[in-house]
Amino acid sequence: MEKKNRGMVLITLTVLLLFVMLPLAFAETTFDPKLVEAAKKEGKVSLYNSGSREAGDTLLKAFKEKFGISGEQYRATSNKILTKVMEEIKANNIYCDVVTTGSPNVLQLQLKGLLQKLNVEQAKHYPKTQKTDYYVNVTGIGLFIMYNKDLVPENEAPKEWKDLLNPKWKGKIAMPDWTASTSPMIVYKMLRDVYGTEFLKNAGEQDFVVHKAHGAAANAVATGECAISFEMLSDRIAVQVKKGAPVGYSVPSPTTFNPRQIGIPKGAPHPNAARLLIEFVLSPEGQKMYNLGYWLYSFRPGITYPKEMYPFDKIKVYDFTPEMWIKFTEELPSLIEEATKFWRKK
């Protein structure tokens, strides 16, 4: 075949391929009609969410538009959600249909035998390391360092975890309450493994300004009440950036994700609606809506990220294997105790 003809054939084939692929790419996920029918009969779903209320509202609104099923949201810190769900199950007075919190709280529910098997189709598209039979990691929350650009020039901003120990930050570091949220303890565990306990003990000398949750800590940095954060969730940084607050962020190396897990408690009053909501949020459509708008990362392969997000592939991840998560879950109470010993104001 002549070179010119060969080129024409290639172009034609590419165009044809595109024609075939495009509808596939834009095709909406189809959901099991029986499940949809059963969910509609239940009529409502209750979501217990440790993420931002906005993200939860967006998800429930889209879910209602798509399936006509209304949802209610209970928003609180990860640990509060864990205790509330356990309390409800223990009292056999369950209101929660879908529980989603930072790791490892949903795993804790699984280990205590308080979750039901998921059986959702969309889970098949997720890597084995990001799911069990009982939950799926619906979101990867980036754990970064945040700073106030009015108070800290970019070249002086902390880039790595060890920069946080610089005495110039003493009394200026916002820290989310490590007894209420799981992310500070995930970072604690990572730093303990990477730098050792001495590093964490020294960090305690910095007199952290403690805030009840990440939102409050992020706000403290955005307003200038604190100059930098110890660790900050990528979605909380996004909220401040979108508001126009003078904040910047660094991605230390290594860092890790706090995988937000999603599952269904045993005895959930609307199990079909719960299952359908999870199918929806795990679908490409749900992932884009629930994650990308809030600078959250997805574990579903093939997701394209918007430009304003820090590239997923540039993050040097300290990987928590499934075994490490289970060990972390067991160690958590003693780790919290240790952190409190090191970090509590003297």
């Binding site: 209320r53 007075n93 939102g215 706000n219 307003t223 200038g224 009440e225």
Partner: protein, 576 residues
């Protein structure tokens, strides 16, 4: 023969049972259940390894006194309680003296300002003072640094401290000292003061040496009551103490109930210790009042002279203006400013003002209408039911002949000494499990509010009832009117002002209630204070400020409406 006599007895008993007896007995049993059931669960829970496991232990009480961290929190609580008492003394007594006894210009207006904290809520007060005195970005700090010391990057005011907590609690609870003291100052026998002045002592010497010692039981009573409420306060220590890692007993209870692993038994034990402490303060207060130390404040209707201060009245006027600025102007300005900026910044600029937060609240936030609807429903129906129950209790106590009536009154008033968060723990333990599983419904908040604030209703209706002589009711009964008819046609119309004031007080308390709601709400049952707390937890102080302004507006409109409809005086509205 015996059988006939038994049935006769039964028949006679049936004849004695009329509607009045049924209602009174039902209300008495309901009150016993509403108050004693959660209190019982608190005790039971604290004496078990887990509240729902019948395995008894004293471990949790031992732990409170042996655990270093808990001991520290206990001392924080004591320090804050005593500090608040002193702060209330410093703020409340001079203001009471100025307003009640001197010719300071505009003193009647300042009397209204002094009760302003009653109209807002501790949670809102804490939000306002964060906006004002957060060490780096508080408005007062920013203005001070810009005017006096631009090199300073921090302070000089720091609301995130023990002193900050005491200051805010003092501002919020000083009206108790103010109202008690001003009341006593207005009704005291002026003879001793006159004697002092005749002996050549000046105004201030007479006031310090004669007047204040005469009304000291009223002052002590107000201070002790302020201390009781300060010890059980949650919102202010939670919001202001967290950044400085300062915890008190109430915030510890919240932590234990919401942090993994949960320890409800320890929370209940700490709650009981707090109840013991508050009851001790109330006991001391009761002893003081019972000693009859008010002999110079009799019911003779004295009207002491207004003291003419001369040029000193400008000093007292300045004090009143300063007090008004601190208590009212500054917090309101901070909330208004916070609600009108998109994000807080160290750069203050009017060009950044926007209604963005309000637009968001009313067009986007999923909770706004739900929370407003729930709060208004609870306030309307809760206040009505609570006042009805309270009226029956007061009637039984002050007009009844049952030997148990004072026990009933004592039980109904018991929640006064039980902090909201502690009472909520008892309610949660008692009402989460079948057959009384109200958890997950608005009903549990309804029950919680009524049980917790029953004393407010009982106090309002009782104080009106004791002022009405029973002659009219007795005449009605002699004329053959039933118990219910007497209550509806004679007693209630006579105590109407007290009932209205009680209803309004309860309406305001329920509208902004926080301590009980925080433990008992569930999805769909959120109230306005929960929205505020969520905003604070998320660090969204601007939206918290906007929602606070909305709540204040609703409160003021309600007071205005009630005043127009019934003529209820604002000063008769006080919190429990």
């Amino acid at each position: 023969m015996d059988r006939i006599s038994t049935s006769e007895k039964f028949f006679n008993l049936l004849k004695q049972i009329n509607l009045g007896t049924v209602i009174q007995t039902s209300v008495a049993l309901l009150v016993l259940f509403l108050v004693l059931y959660p209190v019982g669960w608190l005790w039971l829970g604290s004496l078990r390894t887990d509240p729902f496991t019948p395995d008894y232990t004293l471990t949790w009480y031992v732990k409170i006194f042996t655990d270093e961290v808990l001991w520290q929190r206990l001392t924080n609580t004591l320090f804050i309680t005593v500090g608040t008492g002193l702060m209330c003394l410093i703020l409340g007594v001079p203001m009471a003296w100025i307003v009640a006894r001197t010719d300071t210009p505009l003193r009647r207006r300042f009397e209204l300002v002094a009760v302003v904290p009653f109209m807002t809520a501790p949670l809102i007060g804490a939000i306002a003072w964060i906006n004002l005195a957060a060490p780096r970005t508080g408005l007062l700090n920013l203005i001070y640094r810009q005017l006096f010391d631009p090199s300073l990057r921090y302070g000089p005011f720091n609301v995130y401290s023990l002193w900050g907590i005491i200051f805010c609690l003092g501002l919020y609870y000083s009206p108790y000292v103010f109202l008690f003291t001003s009341g006593a100052l207005r009704s005291m026998d002026p003879a001793l003061e006159e004697a002092s002045r005749v002996s050549g002592h000046g105004i201030f010497r007479t006031s310090f040496k004669i007047t204040l010692p005469l009304v000291y039981p009223a002052i002590t009573s107000g201070v002790l009551l302020a201390m009781v409420f300060a010890a059980g306060q949650f919102a202010i220590p939670a919001l202001l103490g967290t950044p400085a890692q300062i915890s008190v007993m109430t915030t510890t209870i919240y932590e234990l109930m919401n942090r993994w692993p949960i320890n409800r038994s320890l929370a209940a034990a700490i709650g009981n210790l707090l109840v013991f402490f508050t009851f001790l303060l109330l006991y001391i207060r009761g002893k003081l009042l019972a000693r009859g130390a008010f002999t110079t404040v009799t019911g003779k209707g004295y009207r002491p002279d207004v003291i003419k201060l001369g040029k000193w009245k400008y000093l007292t006027l300045s004090i009143c203006i300063l007090y008004s600025i601190v208590v009212f102007v500054l917090p309101m300005f901070a909330l208004a400013y916070g609600s009108l900026v998109k994000f807080w910044s160290v750069k203050i600029s009017l060009s950044r003002l926007t209604f963005w937060n309000y637009t968001y609240l009313f067009t986007e936030h999923s909770l706004t209408y739900v929370a407003l609807k729930n709060s208004l429903l609870l306030a309307l129906f809760g206040a009505t039911v609570c006042v009805l129950i309270s009226s029956v209790i007061s009637f039984m106590v002050h007009r009844g002949k049952s030997p148990w009536r004072h026990t009933l009154e004592y039980i109904a008033m018991m929640p006064v000494g039980v902090p909201g968060v502690v009472f909520a723990v008892g309610i949660l333990l008692g009402w989460i499990r079948p057959p009384l599983a109200l958890y997950g419904t608005l009903g549990i908040l309804f029950v919680g509010y009524i049980s917790r604030f029953l004393p407010v209703g009982v106090r309002a209706t009782s104080s009106s009832l004791v002022q009405v002589h029973p002659e009219l009711e007795e005449s009605a009964r002699v004329a053959g009117t039933t118990w219910g008819g007497t209550l509806l046609r004679i007693t209630l119309p006579l105590i109407k002002p007290g009932v209205q004031a009680g209803w309004m007080t309860l309406f305001i308390i329920f509208l902004r209630e926080f301590g009980v709601s925080l433990f008992l709400y569930s999805p769909g049952n959120e109230v306005v204070s929960i929205m505020l707390y969520e905003f604070w937890e998320d660090g969204d102080m601007m939206r918290a400020s906007a929602m606070s302004m909305v709540l204040i507006a609703i409160t003021l409109i309600s007071i205005y409406g009630m005043r127009r409809l019934t003529g209820t005086d604002v000063s008769s509205i006080t919190t429990g």
